[in-house]
């Protein structure tokens, strides 16, 4: 494309974007209910008040997220490996991994949280914690491990069988072939979908509030109820987005870097 061609297409993109934005703003602000919506969702004073309390509550979301993420990476990998075990001897373990993934991907997260958070403590078994934050986090770990194990499995299966065959022919045991040849390639390939699941996890930390802990979404509900104004929800949405965007850009960067390296290696995989 010539230089003028590039300039022209940039200008067209710019004009189109501006017109689109202007139209969107006009449509929304000219809607008959806009003044009411503005008052309810974009109230400056409530916005300022919300900023004083909601970020503080958001620390709890981040804590849940960080703790859960570490466990999910480990548990999910374990399940994916179980499911990839070859041979008839390991059938029970493979079946267990399949049942696990089916069960926890099938049941809505909100129900798992309810059942564990209120159900297990109701058993009154001595020695079993009844802390709601503990069970809320465990529920998230169980659910997301099921998703992430499938991501890992997709990665493991995407590594060509010849890779493992080559490793075995070099004298590596099956375990070592998995550890040093298959997994490193598998994990690299699934980094984007992994991070995708973690963005989902970040948002789902809000579900733990069902059990009582006051995190960002619950705090915003408290603010909404005390002001009868929805602006605190907007504040919470912005905070969640602010955390998600860097993660999304990191994913993009990792993918781009990976591609660059593969191309540098002459396209070899």
């Amino acid at each position: 494309m010539t230089a003028t061609g590039r300039v022209r297409s940039t200008l067209i993109a710019l004009a189109s974007t501006v017109v689109f934005a202007v139209v969107a703003v006009l449509v929304i602000t000219n809607a008959p209910g806009w003044p009411a919506v503005k008052q309810s969702f974009f109230n400056r004073e409530v916005f300022r008040e919300s900023l004083e309390v909601i970020p503080e509550a958001f620390v709890l979301n981040v804590k849940i997220f960080l703790v859960a993420e570490v466990f999910i990476l480990v548990v999910a990998l374990g399940i994916a490996i179980l499911r990839s075990l070859p041979g008839p001897v390991f059938f029970p373990l493979r079946a267990l991994a399949v049942v696990y993934a089916d069960l926890f991907r099938g049941v809505p997260t909100i129900l798992v949280i309810y059942l564990l958070g209120f159900g297990v403590p109701a058993l009154q078994i001595s020695g079993v914690p009844n802390d709601e934050l503990f069970w809320g986090t465990v529920a998230l770990i169980l659910v997301y491990s099921a998703y992430v194990s499938e991501v890992y499995r997709a990665g493991i299966e995407s590594v060509h069988p010849s890779q493992e065959a080559a490793a075995r022919s070099l004298g590596l045991s099956q375990a070592k072939a998995l550890r040093f040849v298959v997994l490193p390639q598998a994990v690299r390939r699934v980094v984007p979908p992994l991070l995708n699941d973690f963005i989902g996890l970040q948002k789902d930390t809000a579900l733990v509030a069902l059990l009582g802990p006051v995190e960002a979404f619950r705090q915003s509900q408290i603010e909404v109820a005390s002001t009868f104004n929805y602006t605190p929800y907007v504040v919470t949405a912005i905070i969640f987005i602010l955390l998600t965007i860097p993660l999304a850009r990191l994913t993009d960067w990792l993918v781009a870097r990976d591609r660059r390296r593969q191309l540098a290696a002459g396209g070899a995989r």
Partner: protein
């Protein structure tokens, strides 16, 4: 060719914008009509006569409440929680008040219709599909900006419910509750009472629904919950028989339940007159005696 397409695209967008700009004149014209009708109505001798009222459905008083509606506020013939989509009931405090208000306004029992309105939807901005909502909604000045409240049909006190076998079952003052892990439903004055009145050392737990708070209480995840006193009667009678209301809280200002109207609904003045009349005649006290009885626990100071 591409240039032409781009131009077409932009032209279409602008056309949409122009179309929308034209549209919003119409609702403004619509709004003027009901206001005019109300003005004419106010000039009539009795603006509160059923045929003069601007109602959701003409000739019918449409009342909202949540589903299910629990005793002692609503109950069906068997004394179980009432489903507003089934046969109407006059049993329960709010049911009785709703029908008493309807009668004062001049509606027969057959002219009362019920609609299901979840608590959170009762204060959503915009038009309402009920004439008024009766759902234990406490008056709070900030809430009044989004909807309109009637005068009080029930003055509320908060109560602390704890397990009978817990160390807090013998609490006789607010100080005795300082170490307690307390819980309440989100967005309620019960939550405010924990934060402002009891001021415990631990942060309270907050739940979507009272049922969840009761569950957490039964599991020992929290030491006590705060609810309004009539609800505490239901909880200790039905949901958690091993719990007891240990005390009521000093009233913070004048907390009361009000009927909720769409912002600016002129029906409110007529309903306020009806409530005042019920209060003066003692009818409201009688309804309270009938449905919300029992020996109340002490006020904790």
């Amino acid at each position: 060719m591409r240039k032409l397409l781009t131009l077409l695209f932009l032209a279409t967008l602008l056309g949409v914008a122009a179309g929308c700009g034209g549209d919003d004149d119409e609702p403004a014209a619509d709004e003027a009509t009901p206001t005019g009708a109300v003005d004419t109505g106010a000039a009539e001798p009795d603006p509160c006569a059923p045929e003069e009222l601007t109602l959701v459905t003409d000739g019918t008083l449409t009342i909202g409440t949540d589903n299910p509606a629990f005793p002692p506020w609503f109950q069906d013939a068997e004394g179980a929680p009432w489903d507003p989509t089934t046969e109407p009931t006059q049993q329960g405090y709010e049911a009785a008040v709703a029908y008493a208000v309807a009668e004062e306004l001049g509606f027969s029992d057959d002219e009362v219709e019920w609609v299901v309105v979840p608590f959170a939807a009762s204060f959503r901005p915009g038009p309402k599909d009920f004439d008024f909502d009766i759902n234990q909604i406490s008056y709070v000045p900030a809430r009044d900006e989004a909807v309109d409240f009637s005068d009080s049909y029930y003055d509320v006190e908060q109560a602390v419910v704890v397990l009978k076998n817990s160390e807090f079952a013998s609490a006789s003052s607010l100080a005795d509750l300082a170490d307690a892990k307390l819980g309440a439903q989100v967005g309620t004055t019960s939550y405010d009472a924990i934060v402002n009145t009891i001021q415990p050392d631990q942060d309270p737990s907050v739940y979507d629904r009272n049922d969840d708070a009761v569950n957490a209480l039964r599991n020992g995840q929290i030491d006590g919950i705060v609810v309004d006193y009539p609800t505490s009667l239901f909880i200790t009678a039905v949901q958690a028989p091993n719990a007891t209301p240990v005390g009521r809280l000093p009233a913070e200002g004048q907390e009361y339940f009000g009927l909720v109207f769409e912002e600016g609904n002129p029906l409110r003045d007529c309903v306020n007159a009806a409530i005042a009349s019920l209060r003066d005649s003692g009818a409201l006290d009688e309804i309270a005696q009938e449905w919300i009885e029992g020996s109340a626990p002490p006020i904790l100071e």
